[in-house]
């Protein structure tokens, strides 16, 4: 699908939106689509290469039964302040419109103090494990395994 120097770079593509207004933070945000293991409906998540960790919205964490799950307790600095929580492995799919979706198990930070609905795909243990590229003129997200 997407080639670099004549060689396959990624084989999947999906549309994303960066025009959904947010009251909390009005600058453009890139939303891609995920299907979490244990859920049967696709949800939006914000792509954030500047975030050290992926973070699950608290309702999604609860829905997936992750509160109380064994994980590594830690404290991280976020845009909403310092939060206590746990790092856990979470199965999910990044959904494609063309090519193949990407089934993965990545690391997420889970905290009951985290705001509802704010789910981020961050760098460590998730985005640093895949190839991806953006075409912002047509809102295409290219992705695939490394």
């Amino acid at each position: 699908m997407l080639k670099l120097d004549g060689r396959l770079f990624t084989r999947s593509r999906s549309k994303y939106t960066d025009h959904v207004p947010q009251r909390l933070e009005p600058t453009a945000k890139i939303y891609v689509r995920l299907l979490f293991g244990g859920m049967d409906r696709v949800v939006t998540a914000q792509l954030d290469t500047g975030a050290a960790w992926s973070i699950l919205g608290s309702e999604v964490s609860e829905r997936l039964g992750l509160f109380g799950e064994p994980g590594k307790a830690t404290r991280i600095r976020t845009s909403f302040g310092i939060k206590d929580g746990v790092l856990v492995r979470v199965p999910l799919k990044i959904m494609a419109d063309e090519g193949e979706s990407l089934d993965m198990t990545g690391t997420f930070f889970v905290s009951p103090d985290w705001p509802e609905g704010l789910t981020f795909l961050g760098y460590s243990g998730l985005l640093d494990s895949i190839r991806f590229a953006l075409d912002p003129q047509v809102n295409d997200f290219y992705f695939g395994p490394c």
Partner: protein, 126 residues
């Protein structure tokens, strides 16, 4: 004169988990991963190390032949209706609102009853 207690020698460098955690909490993930690698070689049975090794590992990935339905119309709906559904969860499909609720649990209950199996897209407005 009393007999001196013999204190077993300790080597703090063989205790890795607190240092791994401190590195993670200061955002130094790359260094934390390097320390995990060292710990797995030097002191692999240290309590808690296996879990740190797991959460600091790269994500496991596998391409699967599965595609989402087209979402361009759903994205246009989300872009146009944020103000009307602040702090709400919404479910959209083919450019139309299917259901909305103030919690994910409520939204899924509505969908289970009225649109079970429909390939809706869930989003929460902020």
């Amino acid at each position: 004169m009393g007999k001196a207690f013999k204190i077993a020698p300790t080597d703090e460098s063989t205790v890795y988990v607190p240092r791994i955690r401190a590195l993670v909490e200061s955002g130094r993930v790359h260094e934390a991963r390097e320390l995990v690698s060292e710990a797995l070689y030097t002191n692999p049975s240290e309590p808690g190390l296996a879990q740190w090794s797991e959460v600091l590992s790269p994500a496991a990935t596998r391409a699967v032949p599965e595609l989402d339905v087209g979402r361009s119309a759903d994205f246009r709906w989300l872009e146009a209706h944020a103000d009307s559904y602040q702090d709400q969860w919404v479910a959209v499909l083919r450019g139309s609102l299917v259901a909305h609720a103030s919690t994910l649990r409520e939204l899924e209950a509505i969908l289970d009853e009225t649109a079970s199996g429909a390939p809706v897209l869930l989003h929460r407005f902020h």
